[in-house]
Structure formats: structure tokens, C-alpha cells
Symmetry: C2
Subunit: 198 residues, 2 copies
DNA sequence: ATCATTTCTTAACTTAAGTGAAGATTTTGA
DNA sequence: TCAAAATCTTCACTTAAGTTAAGAAATGAT
């Protein structure tokens, strides 16, 4: 077992222990269940049209969710360290509408519903964690959405600089642009405008 | 027990039975726990600055979530029949940033976390329902957000006409406008433009 | 180190949303 | 029923985003 692997397991257990305490037994269950995978930058973890039941939990790196509309990539989400994502197709049992790709070399914990079910049966505590996490995620998602609706593209960019400054460094601008709901040219112009104002 | 009350209980149980079957016992638990309240149009169920631990589940009518920024109402959500909402302040234990008001005369099932905890203990099945519902809500919220980001104000309005035509009838336009992320004047002009195009 | 590819910038022009202000229309309550 | 309040529309003007197109800069692969 390489030391990096153990480090990642600890990150995962620490994260879960924010919500419920874990016994050694329970930690071992996680160690056995969660599959930790390494991906190179640019790897497509999920492609449009494919079926999957996998959820992704980012231990290191950054993944991007996007789809292609009229030949253009529309980026809808970025997930970085300690953020998790379940594609809609996992719940709908349909082919995926979305692509998921690695913006950087990334380490991802992958889980599947049947794994989860088993664990829930053995340790109901895990279901509680998932429920609480889900409830928090809903609030987060709704709050982000509300902030987005009520601000101009420029405010959104300034807000992103404040809330997730790392993304601006890590991610190509044309991907950030559609994440902000604007065109790459507009983002470029906007940045020039903002620098000018200072 | 008035017949309308019983009707509402049935609506609630039917809704839950979409996800898990319920025994009579379990239905009774719901009947005893959930508090069903009647509100007049315009009632403020939750005010900015107030603390609450209540979640709302709309049995009939329509509620609106908004906050006031620079003296202007910013509407972030509408919930109608069979939709539920937990304000962020319930999870954060802070005074509410948001108002919740009734767009119409409404019948709302109100629940609190301590009720939920008790029920979860007695019937773990309910925690499963809540987890599944939450997971679905996350997807829904993220999908809505993605659609919003990738469309123009006009597309958003056309999409709203398709997806929630009832809202356009039920809700004042100035509230719809901020829900669409635009000014009321722009919505008014846009509607004229759309009618002209036909 | 160099070439090809990807990403970013700039510019001129078009289109639609924001703003401020006024007035029309609809709804509500006494 | 009528006046006040709330809601919606229109107009002229400003501002910023979309579009098209060209070329510069950065990155990656050999």
C-alpha cells in the first residue's frame, strides 16, 4: 500500500468525521469500499451518451462538468478538493448528457449506489451523513443560484475572484466564461475593464 | 377532523409513497407529526432576521422566497404543489436572510428537524426517503442552474413558459422578472417583443 | 527548439438589458 | 363604488454583452 494512498484515505475519513465520528471498523469499511483512482489532466471520466452509476469525490485536483450545445462547450460546474459530484444520469438511469473531465491531474474517490446501500445497511450512520451532506448541498446550490441570478456578469466574476480565487488560476478562461454564463470574448474584455478601473 | 384536512394528509402520504411504501402505522406517524397550516395570500411565513427551524412543504398554493437588496426585492424561488423548501437558516442556525411569503392562499405542511430525528429513529425508512429526495433535489437544482447559465433572458422566459406555465399566471410580473434575473421593465419589453415576433 | 494547437486579446459593429421617468392599467380595501 | 396602492407598459438614452473576424500569446508534443 503506497503512502499516498493512505494519505488519501485519511483525507476521506477526516472529511466524513466532520459530520459523524467513525470507529476503526467503520474506517476500514471505507478503506475497502471506496475505489481511489488517479487520472491525468484532460482525461474524460464520463462521456456524453455513456451510462454510469458512479459518483465522484475529489481528493486532489479539479474536475469539470460540461456539455456540448451547438458545437460549443457549456461548462456548468467545477469540483475541487473535498467536493463531491453525482451526475444526473446516475439517478435517472439514462445515458449521460454531460461530460466530466479532469482539468488537472486528479485523484478521485469513486462510489456506486449499490456500495452505498450495503454500507447504509451495515452502518445506518452513513446514511445520516449522506442525508445531512445532501441537505447542505441543496442549500449551497440554491444560494449559489440566487447569487448568480441577482448579479451582473461583472459582479459574478468579482464574486468568483473572492469565493474561489483558485479556479481563476487553475482553469482556462474560455471554460470560466461559460461557467459565468458569458462568452470568452466578453470575459477577456471584462478583465481588461476591471484592471483599467483600479 | 375536517375533510379538507384529511385530503391534505392523503396528498402528503401519496407523495411519500412515490418513494417508499408506508404501513398504516407509518401513515399515522405522519398524521400526528406534520403540522398542516393555512395561510392567507400575502402572509409572511418567514421574515428576514427571524430564526426558525421550520421546513415547508406546499400542499396547496404557492410560496415565494426573496430577499431585499438595495431596497429591491430579489425573488429567488417559487414553490408550488408538492414542492418542499428548507430555508438556509434552518441548517446554519443563523437569523434568516430570506423572506418567505404566500403568493396565494396556501396550505403548508410544516416540519422541524427534531420531529424528523424522532421519526428517523423509529422508522429509518423515512431517512432513506429524505436522502433520496435530497439527492434528486440537488440534481434538479444543479440542472436548473446550468440551464439558466447557458441561456439568454429571453430563452429563460420561453423556457419558463414551457416548464412552469402556471407561474406566469399565478405570479406578478415584477416577481417573475427578478426570478429570471432581469428588471421588470425588461420583462415587459421582452413580452412585447415576443408577441410581435409571432 | 520549433511547430502546431490551444487559448486569449482586440476591434468594429449589433443587439438587448439597465436606467430614469412618466403615465396607463389593474387590484384592493374602506 | 371609488380612490389609493400596486402592477405593468412605454420611451429615450446608456451601457455592456453577443458576434464576427483577425491575429497575438501561451502551451504541448516531438
Amino acid at each position: 500500500m503506497n503512502p499516498n494512498f493512505i494519505k488519501m484515505k485519511n483525507i476521506l475519513c477526516d472529511f466524513i468525521e466532520q459530520f459523524v465520528p467513525l470507529t476503526e471498523d467503520e474506517k476500514n469499511v471505507i478503506l475497502e469500499l471506496d475505489v481511489i483512482k488517479y487520472f491525468k489532466k484532460g482525461t474524460l471520466i464520463l462521456k456524453q451518451g455513456k451510462r454510469t452509476s458512479e459518483s465522484y469525490f475529489v481528493l486532489k485536483g479539479c474536475i469539470r462538468v460540461y456539455y456540448i450545445l451547438d458545437g460549443t462547450e457549456k461548462t456548468t460546474e467545477f469540483f475541487t478538493e473535498l467536493e463531491g459530484y453525482t451526475p444526473p444520469c446516475v439517478l435517472s438511469n439514462q445515458p449521460s448528457e454531460l461530460y466530466v473531465s479532469c482539468v488537472e491531474d486528479s485523484i478521485i474517490a469513486i462510489s456506486k449506489p449499490n456500495m452505498a446501500e450495503e454500507v447504509f445497511k451495515k452502518f445506518p450512520k452513513f446514511e445520516t451523513v449522506c442525508r445531512i451532506l445532501s441537505e447542505q448541498l441543496i442549500v449551497k446550490s440554491q444560494t449559489n443560484f440566487a447569487d448568480f441570478k441577482t448579479s451582473s456578469p461583472e459582479q459574478r466574476y468579482l464574486n468568483l475572484m473572492k469565493e474561489r480565487p483558485d479556479l481563476i488560476q487553475r482553469v482556462p478562461q474560455y471554460q470560466l466564461a461559460s461557467y459565468l454564463g458569458i462568452k470568452p470574448e466578453s470575459l477577456s474584455r471584462m478583465r481588461a475593464r476591471i484592471v483599467g478601473k483600479k
